[in-house]
Symmetry: D2
Subunit: 306 residues, 4 copies
């Protein structure tokens, strides 16, 4: 492992997959700011526990992290609340699309897990109770990357303008009494966290605490406890890629969290954290080429938790 | 790791948990042969990749493996059919109880995964198309354990007499055209596989190919390919413990498959396979004390895939 | 009303609609005996409370009454059990396809109403507890028509051979404990009642007790009480035409019960009972031309309960 | 019929039921303005097609008509749009609670019927496209009653403050593209129509067009066409009393529309329109004593559409 030449592996993946750009996948089109992102981009970056980095393609280009932000907001909430975080949020795969209201109804406003939209809105609600959630989240990401991180204001505004389904989810939970704060305030946090822009290199670095038993990727200080970090990894594996989590576990076998901006972050416990990005999505809302890149990475390295 | 004294660890777990026998959990009561099993039993056994064994408590007592058999029937079907096994069986967590018909209806007779009842019945159907499924399954288990394995005829008869829900599932799939063989023949295989009796020691040995990249636990010959074995582990982690799979991943972090007989088999890839058994079940249908034993094992050893 | 010339009205309907035969609707094809019925048939017949009859087209041709039998089996069960009939069968529209299992699951084996398949199977179960249900049903129909009524044995056999969904429904209820008798015995009654063959003239006569406050159409003796007859009419209006009951009430405004053989029986309380038949079905499983005939009948006569 | 002494009948019903006040039913408590209404009230009033009136108990006390307003807003929309009203609103019973989101999701934002909340919000959306919906609705009601009708501003404000579920429904439909107007504007109409206050006598008069083939109760001019009026009656019978519509049809047999303020309006086609009110609700959200009053009325008069 220590001897693996990750730079060569990422270069190979970039060389093999780049010709496929434009031949599959569809860029998310529900907001203009995402719809006009060029699909002809592919980036990949990783950072090992030892601090070694590797990258290829458009790895330095910032993109909208979207649902990948749920992993970081969950981390903030666990830091603030510990086990109490889980009082009104479940930990089971949903078996339903990420923005479905059906399950939320039968389970009376308790989201199945923190990675479906309802769950992430519930996490945002807990963060609002703790302070200025947007500021805290950007601060956490800045510390994890070692450089400032920003929200794309246009994306945030578009999310708010078109977020009817998420507004429905939040009001639905408020009706069940499972949100503590004002719906508009909670949604403002949620829409803004989805609009955070980061590059593959930044995400790969920021996620480093998840392959290090919770320790800060640069400073080594605890971000989460070892048990908490393991549990975030477990949630990513079972619930991190919408209704394709089983398929990701089956074919890739790593904890992953994806976003409709086309990014996917993956964790190899005790080894490395990795981020791949390509804007075209497959039918499950996961990056079409990103998924292939992860399959190739696993095939070339033999890394998998199983 | 090589230095871990597993015998001492299992003895400690037995000592710590045995006093809890009778204070929680409820023995499955849907058939008399299961209902009269004494709840005051607890056994645990493991076998490492190096062939080291450890056991404690009632580890040599045979019990009804029930749904744990789904892991072995799936293995048989993958051996026989390869990727074609997956043509009409999904790989996603169900988000619903193990014997639910709802999802089967909305997904037109395609079971979500091979570990819910509908999926296991579909696997049994494929095995029936290949030959004498009951004989093949007992032969596989016998080879994996190095000793003959039997079906408890009384349990099998009871399963058939009371298996209305499973009969409904099978007829429902037949109506959708997703079962190839006669319903009665398929159910006979399914009811018999659930009635197989094995001890913790036997199960821990038999599951050994799953921690060995698919190689036979005793002979070292391939049972599955390395990729196939990893994928069975992935399915166990995401779907192996009914509607508590997320919770198992979160708290235990190992591929597990449970049965309503009170057994749970767990795999630590590249390290060991383990089986724990205690008949009292929790509200999710998983062994109440077995689950605690696995949490203790993980806490004491630090083993987890995450 | 007494002055209405029903024979002329039915002749007009026949003349207007017959040219449409073959231009729409699809004959039920799930069993060969139904699939080979010629779609080019249309019959209509009625019988007033005063005993006046009118008929047009293929009104004397026997056809498979299918789900229209549910109205008569319900009548038998109400006669035998009174209010107790309703202990484990609901009276609400289902909002789901007639053979759906979903609602049955969420409502724990209690069918929503006696006209969905699960409900009719539950009614058959109650009849089995009372005696020889097939004999009783044929005897009731024979008395109501004044001539012997038969089961089409080939249709009955085909129903049994292909009735996987109904077998699933029955086993599902048996699993919930809401069927008292053996699944096979209950299904035998159900498959046979669906295979009863009657002509429009026979059905129009037999249904006469429903427009006469429950009194026998020929003898005037009570078949049901006035309140019971009104309630059967109410159930027909809210639940009698599968998932199109709202649309039938909206456009036709009469209690109706349809069958996939292409028949529809309608009741005008205190006036007449009517049966129309044409084998081609629309997308909701109701007779395509029969529905148009009822709309025309209502438009020409102004008859409607609303 | 013309000889029926309706005043005596209503007096009898009042005398028989008034002693039951306070022994059953629960006043709606989701907003303070409704929660503090005294449950010890019961009123009933009717008006025949010939203009005869009868009333008993608290028949002149205004109450919050709530969902009974859906009947009047539907009438306004049919007047404005004719058949086009039905382009994105169904006519089938829902088989689900009145404020369920599940069905709305599976049917992609098309409400099942105009009397569930989603359907009434969709009707309000159409009215907003036509002009000042609140003004129009009050004007219609004023003309139908022959006296001015008002909105209870405190109730309207409370509805808006606590209407999370309805806000969820509206946003959900907006997300599916089935609402044309701004969510806040549409909900303002909806919350205000629910807050209209009327007495039994006023409602009984206002609903008079429904028993008169659509003609104005006082002026005799057309409010709806005869066919449109019949269809509104049909919808009331199949969908007017939430998930108890089947039971109302079965036991009462009249088109009814209820509200959580405790009112129920009923129509006897060609005879009379009637309103009963008592604030205590049963488990289905319908007036507990109002329902009994209607059963008594039907038993005493023999009136029923069946």
């Amino acid at each position: 492992m220590s001897g693996m030449d990750f730079q060569t592996i990422l270069d190979e993946i970039n060389t093999e997959l780049r010709p496929l750009l434009g031949t599959g996948g569809k860029v998310a089109s529900y907001i203009p700011a995402l719809a006009r992102v060029s699909p002809l981009q592919f980036g990949i970056a990783l950072r090992t526990c030892a601090g070694q980095t590797a990258q290829a393609g458009d790895s330095a280009t910032p993109f909208s992290i979207q649902s990948m932000s749920k992993m970081f907001s969950l981390t903030l909430a666990i830091r603030a609340l510990g086990e109490a975080m889980w009082d009104r949020i479940g930990r089971e795969p949903s078996g339903s699309p990420f923005n479905s209201l059906v399950q939320l109804e039968s389970e009376r406003g308790i989201p199945r897990n923190p990675f479906i939209n309802a769950g992430a809105i519930a996490v945002a609600d807990r963060l609002v109770s703790q302070g200025d959630a947007k500021v805290e989240l950007l601060a956490l990401l800045g510390r994890l990357c070692g450089e400032p991180i920003h929200i794309d204001a246009e994306v945030a505004r578009s999310e708010a303008d078109t977020g009817f389904r998420n507004t429905a989810l939040a009001n639905f939970m408020k009706g069940f009494g499972t949100l503590d704060n004002d719906v508009a305030t909670v949604l403002d946090v949620y829409f803004n966290q989805c609009a955070i822009a980061m590059s593959c290199e930044q995400v790969a670095c920021a996620a480093g605490y998840l392959c290090r038993d919770g320790r800060h990727p640069l400073a080594g200080t605890p971000v989460l406890s070892a048990a908490q970090a393991r549990r975030v990894n477990a949630l990513m594996l079972t619930c991190g890629t919408y209704d394709a989590a089983g398929e990701f576990a089956f074919r890739i076998g790593l904890p992953c969290k994806s976003g409709v901006g086309g990014g996917i972050v993956a964790v190899v416990p005790d080894r490395l954290s990795l981020c791949v990005w390509s804007p075209g999505l497959d039918g499950t809302g996961n990056s079409w080429l990103g998924r292939q890149a992860l399959e190739l990475f696993v095939a070339k390295t033999g890394l998998s938790v199983f």
